[in-house]
């Protein structure tokens, strides 16, 4: 994950080319081993146990290690050890940059300082990005103080599922508070219950098609009813996991049928609405979320 953020910065500065950036990311993807595979190879779990944990992961928004510990297949110490074996993404990225001869160590250190300054990151923020732990990274981009904690949880969940179901090349930008937005199209769903909640996904054609094609297991070429239906299904599955998590805390949320809008849609709210830019393989998506406020959709 560190490579996606810092690599994008280096690319935007013209210090590495798009091709070099993708080459390094590809190398890093193959360097990062799956937890289940590592556990089996280390003789800590059987293949059946790993498969069972993978299946449970499909139904619950929890990490492989947490489920394996709960099932008694791994200890917390073993999980920590396996995480280390997965590789330090920061060091792997730095190593790749130097080994390919794209940048020297001194240049990397200097660019890291510029990156921190330009992106207005604190030392803790940069540590979070270096850690490559998604939950920590997401918090770096949710600095807007009015975002409620339950909404932060939701954004973290959708980011995890983007990586799990759509594309590991996911990068967030700073969330923004807005009152109104006009979008060419949006796939959405509302939740009702202890609080009202609206979530929608819009974005560049290529990004929408990437979500639709990957999740819908079908090659889409235009943003139409069918591709937006697949994005709606992705949102629906996310919201199911979110509602499931809330129900453990005795908060009841009911999923409404997903809805799509295709005609230059305008969304207004009297309260707070948030726009979270998410890039998958460099293409921009916009996550629109509204909670505890009245909203109006025209289009």
């Amino acid at each position: 994950m560190f490579g996606i953020y810092f690599g994008n910065y280096l690319q935007s500065k013209g210090l590495i080319s798009k091709e070099q950036y993708h080459e390094i990311l590809k190398e890093m993807k193959s360097a990062r081993l799956k937890m289940g595979l590592l556990a089996v190879v280390n003789g800590l779990m059987t293949e059946e146990q790993a498969e069972q944990v993978n299946q449970l992961q499909q139904m619950q928004d929890r990490r492989f290690g947490d489920i394996a510990v709960e099932k008694g297949y791994l200890t917390k110490e073993q999980v920590e050890d396996l995480l280390k074996q997965q590789g330090d993404q920061y060091l792997l990225f730095v190593q790749a940059l130097t080994e390919h001869g794209y940048l020297s160590l001194e240049e990397i250190q200097s660019e890291l300082k510029s990156y921190k300054k330009e992106e207005r990151l604190s030392a803790l923020d940069l540590d979070a990005i270096k850690s490559s732990e998604l939950d920590k990274i997401v918090q770096v981009f949710l600095k807007e103080p009015s975002i409620p904690p339950v909404m932060k949880d939701y954004i973290a969940l959708i980011a995890r599922n983007m990586i799990r179901f759509i594309d590991t090349d996911l990068r967030l930008e700073q969330a923004e508070r807005i009152n109104s937005i006009r979008l060419p199209y949006i796939a959405s769903q509302e939740l009702e219950g202890d609080f009202r909640f609206f979530v929608g996904i819009s974005g560049e054609k290529e990004a929408i098609l990437a979500v639709a094609s990957t999740f819908g297991k079908e090659e889409f070429t235009t943003v139409d009813e069918d591709s937006l239906d697949a994005v709606c299904e992705f949102i629906n599955c996310n919201n199911g996991l979110y509602a499931s998590k809330l129900s453990e805390e005795d908060t009841i949320e009911e999923l409404m049928p997903p809805a799509m809008y295709k005609n230059n849609t305008k969304i207004n709210t009297e309260g707070a609405m948030y726009k979270v830019p998410m890039y998958i393989s460099g293409k921009r998506l916009e996550l629109i979320i509204c909670m505890e406020a009245k909203w109006q959709i025209n289009g």
Partner: protein, 120 residues
């Protein structure tokens, strides 16, 4: 091999489910996009098993399940749920749902669950 009716408002879900069922050697005799249409198609096709999404417009999956079970107590209806619809799941069990399959679909698990329902 069994005859299936797929009831889901999402084209994506219907398509993926149809692919998994046909790959497993089953036949999909019909599709519907809400509970009412699902009931109508059930009467028309008399399938061995119905897969019924819960969240749908017009008449939701619980409504569709109740209608089918009331008219055809021996019918087999499997509810399709996005995780988290616990209240709805309790209501579905009380209304006679035979099984649940979670979204997103895991082909192997889905086929095994449906096989159990077929053999019931």
């Amino acid at each position: 091999m069994a005859k299936f009716l797929i009831v889901d408002d999402s084209r994506t879900s219907r398509k993926i489910l149809r692919g998994i069922l046909e790959e497993a050697g089953h036949t999909v005799v019909g599709e519907a996009t809400n509970g009412q249409e699902g009931y109508d198609r059930y009467v028309e096709f008399q399938p061995d098993v119905v897969t019924m999404d819960i969240t749908m417009p017009v008449l939701d999956g619980i409504g569709g399940l109740k209608k089918i079970k009331e008219a055809y107590p021996d019918s087999k209806v499997v509810m399709v749920t996005a995780a988290g619809q616990r209240n709805k799941m309790v209501e579905a069990v009380e209304s006679g749902a035979d099984e649940f399959i979670p979204k997103p679909f895991d082909a192997e698990q889905l086929v095994a669950t449906l096989q159990k329902v077929i053999e019931k």
